[in-house]
Amino acid sequence: MVREKVGLPPFQALIDAHWRDVARLARAMAGQDGDDVAQRAWEKAYAAYPTLTSAKNLRSWLLTITARCATDVHRARKPQRPLDEAPPVAVDGPEAAAWPDPDLWRAVNELPERQRFAITLKYVGDLDHHGVAAALDTTPAASRRLVSDALATLRTKLGVHDD
């Protein structure tokens, strides 16, 4: 049987191993919508799981679904809440205390969307450029460029010179 061949692990094992990473990534990408994004991503993953044809790279598969859900939410909210006016990451207001390193995340919020998503996937999601590229429907070379441009902007804004 096909199912035997694929040998998918029990879904609970994926949750136990990755739910924190999915939740962190969702918050980094979607701010106060992050918890909804994470929940929606898990629902989508759960629905699609039995149809997977490979048990490889399940973590990166989950983070890709999370990134797509974050993008969807972001697009849906854009007209009412432009990025510049209301940063998705809650670095201001009552939730600010919950975010470590607010200077850094305020600067992250001000990056263009693709750059912001790319560095979030790369560092919060801990994906390599192939993984980032898959999540953003682009090439590893483009991912590398987005990440390095983002880091350059952040270094200038934060006055960091560490390389």
Partner: protein, 188 residues
């Protein structure tokens, strides 16, 4: 990794919550009992596991045999847990649940399926007698192996089967567990 990269990497916000998902294809829970921790699982309303096996091994077997959508969800197991607790405290003599031996081989199914009718509460029988019951009188040893692989322990009472000389011989949950169950049934 540069300092800036590790600052990005360290994002950790409080109050993260695990996801809440719909009813699993296979729901399981770990249930502590006087004879040890049992992994209980149901699929499609039927009990598919009551096992002393470890969580990773059992859930992996269930994922392959039934569906990979296996989740730790205690609620669908409430009825089975209640019946087990009643049985283990001596107030229940038989289980009112449907069992599905998806984790068993065809021969194991033959041995295990009718165990509740081939044995009776408070009495023991032998591997040879069970072998005769299923019309394989020479298969006492194979019957012993099949009983040892029982995926639905306690509910399917493999503990009531002992050696021809009355020796307890073996049990997935250990001989102490087997002794506990036989004493419990003898007293109640």
């Amino acid at each position: 990794m540069t300092d800036l990269e590790s600052r990005l990497n360290r994002l950790d916000t409080p109050g993260l919550r695990p996801p809440v998902l719909p009813d699993a294809d296979v729901a399981y829970t770990l249930h502590d009992t006087p004879i040890g921790t049992l992994l209980l699982a149901v699929a499609g309303g039927r009990v598919v596991a009551s096992s002393f096996g470890d969580e990773e091994t059992m859930t992996t077997r269930l994922a392959r045999a039934v569906s990979p959508r296996v989740l730790r969800q205690p609620r669908p197991l409430d009825d089975v847990r209640r019946q087990l607790d009643e049985y283990l405290s001596g107030v229940r003599r038989a289980f009112d649940v449907e069992v599905d031996l998806v984790l068993a081989t065809p021969f194991q199914r033959l041995v295990l399926n009718d165990l509740p009718t081939h044995t009776s509460y408070g009495a023991t029988t032998t591997y040879g007698a069970v072998a005769s019951d299923i019309d394989k009188p020479k298969a006492a040893r194979a019957v012993g192996t099949a009983l040892g692989a029982n995926p639905v322990c306690v509910v399917l009472p493999c503990h009531r089967v002992v050696g021809a000389n009355g020796a307890l011989t073996g049990y997935a949950g250990g001989l102490d567990a087997k002794r506990f169950l036989l004493n419990l049934e003898a007293k109640s």
